[in-house]
Amino acid sequence: MAKKKRRFKGGEIPTASMADIAFLLLIFFLVTTTIDMDKGLGIVLPAEGEQVEVSSKNILNCLINSTGQVLLGKDPVKISDISQVVRQKLQENDKLIISVKSHEKTKYKDYIAVIDQLKTANATRISIAETQL
C-alpha cells in the first residue's frame, strides 16, 4: 500500500475567528454586567449614649402616626407640604433640629417620605427619636 508522504507544513492555529470568539465573550459580559449602584437617603445615627441638651425653641417635633398623618410642631401638615413649612422655619431659625418621631405601626414608606421632604428642605439636623406606642 502506497502511503502518501505528508509534508509537515508547520502547525498553526487559525486566528481568523479569534475576534469572533472574543466578541462573543465580550457581549456576554456586557449583557451580564449590571451597574446597579445603590442609591438612597443617607443619614448618620447618633452615637450610643450621646445626649445633647438642646433648648426647646431649637427643636421642631415631627410626629408621624400609624396612618401616615404628620404633626409638625403643633399643626397637622400634609406630607407633600412638609418641605415648604420646614424651609420657612429654617429661615427663621437656622439652628433648628427636626426630631422625627413615629408610631410603632407607622409604615416605613411614610417615614421615608418625611425624611425625603426634610432633605428637600435642606434640613441637615435631623434627629430620629425612638418609636412610641
Binding site: 472574543a22 456586557l30 443619614i43 416605613y108 425625603d116 428637600t120 425612638e130 418609636t131
Partner: protein, 136 residues
C-alpha cells in the same frame, strides 16, 4: 513642482489587531464586573426624590427587611437583637462601613427603630435607606 502620485494607497482598515482590542475590552469588563454577592429578600423599596449614591460598594453592608418582618444579612435571617454582633464585627473590620437598609415600604417602624438601636450599639452609624428614584 512635481507631485508624486500615490497610487498604492491601500484603503482597508487593518484588522490584525482587532482581537487584541476586543480582548482588552473583554478583560476590562471581566475585571469590573461585580457579581451580586447576596440575593437578599424580595422587597419593594420606597421611592424618594433627594437620593444620593453610595460611595463605594466595598464599604457597604446590606440589611434586608421584608414586609413580613424578616431581617436578613448576608442571606442569613437574624433576630433584631443579634444584629449588633454581626454589624459590630463588620464595623471593626471596616471603619468606613456604611449600612444600606433595604427595607420594604410596608414594613413597620418598630422594626426599623429596633435596627437603628442595634446599629447604634454596634457603632455603625452611617446609614443609608435604600430607595428608588421617584419619577417626578
Amino acid at each position: 513642482m512635481k507631485f508624486e502620485r500615490r497610487t498604492r494607497l491601500s484603503s482597508d482598515i487593518p484588522t490584525a489587531s482587532m482581537p487584541d482590542i476586543i480582548f482588552m475590552l473583554l478583560i476590562f469588563f471581566m475585571v469590573t464586573t461585580v457579581l451580586r454577592e447576596f440575593s437578599g429578600l424580595p422587597v419593594d423599596l420606597p421611592k424618594a426624590v433627594r437620593i444620593e449614591k453610595l460611595k463605594s460598594k466595598n464599604h457597604t453592608s446590606h440589611i434586608w427587611v421584608s414586609k413580613e418582618g424578616l431581617v436578613s444579612i448576608e442571606d442569613k435571617l437574624f433576630n433584631t437583637e443579634d444584629i449588633r454582633h454581626i454589624m459590630y464585627e463588620r464595623r471593626s473590620a471596616d471603619p468606613q462601613l456604611t449600612v444600606s437598609l433595604k427595607a420594604d415600604e410596608l414594613s413597620r417602624m418598630e422594626l426599623i427603630s429596633g435596627i437603628h438601636n442595634e446599629l447604634r450599639k454596634a457603632d455603625a452609624l452611617a446609614l443609608n435607606y435604600a430607595t428608588l428614584q421617584a419619577t417626578d
